[in-house]
């Protein structure tokens, strides 16, 4: 589980890049979402604890930076879970990942009332992976898991 987004499993997030089974050791390769994401250390420890609790004593967690994680690796099931949790899932296409200025806000669907009539309050939100939006129809503020 991601401690910041408890609705998602590490598989849903797409951060498990490889699982290697050696003779008497399991090696799990994970990739960080954002470079400074403080959840990564916790995630890595939780994976280890979970495997230890299930009887796997020899577990090695490695970090793979390349290729860099993208929200396109998030599973469809994960996106659905995010929405149910109240966070707008990332749009499939990387619409805003360039340096052009004052581009119109992405059309982000409100996870509560499904309206596309929403606006961005802040590009940076409560965690590195989210930005803050508000729905113009139901007026609810919500997090958007920004494309990356």
């Amino acid at each position: 589980m991601d401690p910041e987004v408890p609705a998602l499993s590490v598989i849903d997030l797409g951060i498990i890049r490889d699982i290697l089974i050696h003779e008497n050791e399991i090696e799990i390769s994970i990739t960080p979402t954002y470079s400074g994401c403080p959840a990564m250390d916790v995630i890595s420890m939780n994976i280890k604890m979970e495997l230890l609790a299930n009887g796997f004593n020899n577990v090695k967690i490695t970090t793979a930076l390349s290729p860099a994680w993208t929200t396109d690796w998030m599973t469809e099931e994960g996106k659905q879970k995010l929405k149910e949790y109240g966070i707008a899932p990332p749009n499939p296409k990387q619409q805003v990942c360039h340096t052009d200025l004052f581009v119109p806000d992405e059309a982000v669907q409100c996870p509560l009332c499904n309206s596309y009539h929403t606006h961005r309050v802040s590009e940076f939100g409560s965690t590195p992976c989210k930005s803050l939006y508000q729905c113009n129809d139901c007026k609810e503020p919500f997090d958007y898991f920004k494309c990356h």
């Binding site: 954002y34 470079s35 994401c37 390349s66 340096t99 200025l101 940076f124 590195p128």
Partner: protein, 265 residues
């Protein structure tokens, strides 16, 4: 004797590095010191959303610094680790540019410094993705996605403030005056940058200069800010000769590790 005063426990200090380690430390130090500066805004931003924005940028930069420090520690070997590199090196061992250690000033000055640096980092990481050193290339590619956000955010703010009220425009003019003489160092290669560029792991900085000028000119034009005239540029940070400000940053940042060695939380 002087060295001993600086490093009370010399066994904890990593051995002197080659150009490869120096280059990686330079990349790490730039990110860490700017992160530390930006973090000073935590709880003091002009509005909540922008307070969160600048501290998010700080967090991204700490993450980038960690990736570079971990790699430098791996190359150095022994019991060297990321924390020793960040917390147990003295001022003269830090290789960051002077620009990133300058005081925050007002919001306008912080924004302008971020814009100058993000423009530089965007161009640098774009090139470093092609580094022959796979780990540097991987960190650059990963970080570039984040820097893209930083650059867009800071560019928009430069325009907003430059083209805003008379007061915000005046403040931006003052910020340009305060910071401009520190921008030249970004493109002034140190010996380890030249060696890294020569062996394909680093970047020839003069190639970035034109694109940097172009971007700054474009954003300044839109912000109604004049492109500064040629001035004498301050240098030295990349080789450990810093402004009086870095010592204070380190004093605060390294305090816990210096007073309670090896403490963890």
């Amino acid at each position: 004797m002087k060295e001993n005063l600086l490093n009370t426990d010399s066994s904890k200090v990593p051995p002197p590095e080659g150009f490869r380690e120096a280059y990686i430390l330079h990349l790490a130090d730039n990110a860490l010191i700017l992160a530390q500066r930006n973090a000073e805004w935590c709880g003091h931003g002009p509005v909540l959303e922008q307070d969160i924005a600048i501290t998010n940028i700080s967090l991204d930069l700490i993450g980038q610094a960690r990736n570079f420090y971990q790699y430098a520690a791996q190359i150095t070997g022994g019991d060297c680790d990321e924390d020793k590199l960040a917390y147990l090196r003295a001022e003269r061992e830090f290789k960051n540019c002077l620009l990133v250690e300058l005081p925050n000033g007002d919001w306008g000055q912080t924004i302008l410094r971020q814009f100058f640096f993000s423009t530089y980092q965007f161009l640098l990481y774009t090139e470093l993705q092609k580094s022959s050193d796979e780990q540097i290339a991987a960190i650059a590619a990963k970080s570039l996605k984040e820097v893209t956000y930083h650059l867009r955010w800071s560019s928009e703010w430069v325009i907003r403030l430059g083209d805003g009220t008379e007061e915000s425009n005046q403040r931006m003019l003052r910020a340009i005056e305060n910071l401009w003489m520190y921008t030249g160092e970004l493109f002034q290669s140190s010996p380890y940058e030249i060696q890294s560029a020569n062996n394909g792991t680093g970047v020839e900085l003069s190639l970035l200069k034109c694109k940097w000028d172009e971007k700054v000119e474009r954003v300044f034009a839109e912000a109604g800010l004049p492109y500064p005239e040629k001035v004498y540029h301050q240098t030295g940070g990349k080789e450990g000769r810093h402004t009086e400000h870095l010592g204070y940053i380190l004093a605060e940042m390294q305090y816990m590790q210096r007073v309670y060695p090896d403490s963890e939380w």
